[in-house]
């Protein structure tokens, strides 16, 4: 009986999906919005990277919600993984073996390089591929590599949480500043500048800097929680 009901349900669902799929314009790409963004983006936003003009300018609120989702995921992971919730087997965890020469020397070499690359990707998000999310991951990886070599080298959790909060508040603050200016939330502020210059695209580089710091702090915190 159960199996028959499941079968009926599956057949009904398949028929429904096929009926819906029959109405889809398969093969024809409905590129109305995409084409409009491509045509108008460089003039309106002056961001050489068209993806950034969509992610931060045309769909800025989406990005803000994405940050909120990431924040929720990271805080729940931190809550589940925090050592206080584990049932007192703390004493059993062995001390970490000291890292070898290759790891220590490699992390000393990689740490400044990764920081530079991360901040480069964040700062050039409106010019070249990349931006706050990718650069933030690289920044978190930089701190994690140095943590692998020396366990005491992670920034304090309080500092990470403070930076994450400040960066998130800065993102929303820039959005509110646009409202104070008389426009809609997260409208482009400041001078647009010349397409392709480092200082261009108005407030988008500032928004990406906030995103990069927030993502970096969040992921570094998450990795530190996992590594404890």
């Amino acid at each position: 009986m159960h199996k028959l009901a499941s079968l009926l349900f599956a057949v009904g669902l398949a028929a429904l999906l096929m009926a819906l799929a029959a109405h889809l314009p398969l093969g024809a790409t409905p590129m109305a919005i995409g084409q409009a963004s491509l045509d108008r983006g460089p003039g309106e936003i002056a961001s050489a990277n068209i993806v950034t003009s969509v992610v931060l300018a045309y769909r800025g609120i989406d990005t803000m919600c994405e940050l909120a989702i990431l924040f929720a995921a990271a805080s729940i992971a931190g809550m589940v993984l925090s050592p206080t919730t584990r049932s007192g087997n703390h004493a059993e965890t062995k001390p970490r073996a000291p890292a070898g020469l290759v790891l220590r020397a490699g992390s000393d070499l990689l740490f400044p390089l990764l920081l530079t690359v991360g901040f480069y990707i964040v700062a050039h998000g409106h010019l070249t591929p990349g931006g706050g999310f990718q650069g933030g991951v690289v920044l978190a990886a930089a701190f994690f590599v140095s943590f692998l070599a020396r366990a005491d080298r992670l920034p304090k959790p309080a500092a990470l949480i403070l930076m994450e909060g400040l960066a998130g508040a800065a993102f929303i603050g820039i959005g509110l500043a646009a409202m104070l200016d008389g426009g809609p939330f997260l409208r482009l502020l400041l001078d647009k500048g010349v397409l392709g210059q480092l200082v261009s695209a108005g407030s988008l580089p500032l928004l990406y800097l906030a995103v990069g710091l927030k993502v970096g702090a969040e992921l570094a915190d998450l990795l530190a929680h996992l590594a404890e």
């Binding site: 062995k94 073996a97 990349g130 990718q134 690289v138 994690f144 996992l226 590594a227």
Partner: protein
């Protein structure tokens, strides 16, 4: 030419994905899954989507490997090697 490069990348990706299942050593399996992501990011470059490629390389090949390895360590499935562990 591009088609052959794509074919090679896809074949390598499939090979790495099968290796994830076959490796006994879990760290090696994680490394193989990172290789899948790395090759996928190259495919994204060929598709002219460098933004996505950068994300895939940073998150898929870098961060998720670290998260998986740390998860294994938490579950006690691997030891990151004090000397007593190795003798035992």
């Amino acid at each position: 030419m591009i088609a052959w490069i794509t074919l090679l990348l896809v074949a390598l990706m499939l090979g790495a994905a099968v290796l994830v299942l076959l490796f006994e050593n879990l760290i090696a399996a994680i490394a193989a899954s990172s290789v899948v992501s790395l090759l996928l990011s190259l495919l994204y470059v060929l598709l002219a989507a460098p933004d996505v490629a950068l994300t895939e390389a940073a998150v898929g090949a870098g961060l998720s490997g670290a998260v998986l390895a740390l998860g294994l360590r938490r579950l006690g499935l691997i030891d990151l090697g004090t000397k007593e562990d190795r003798r035992a």
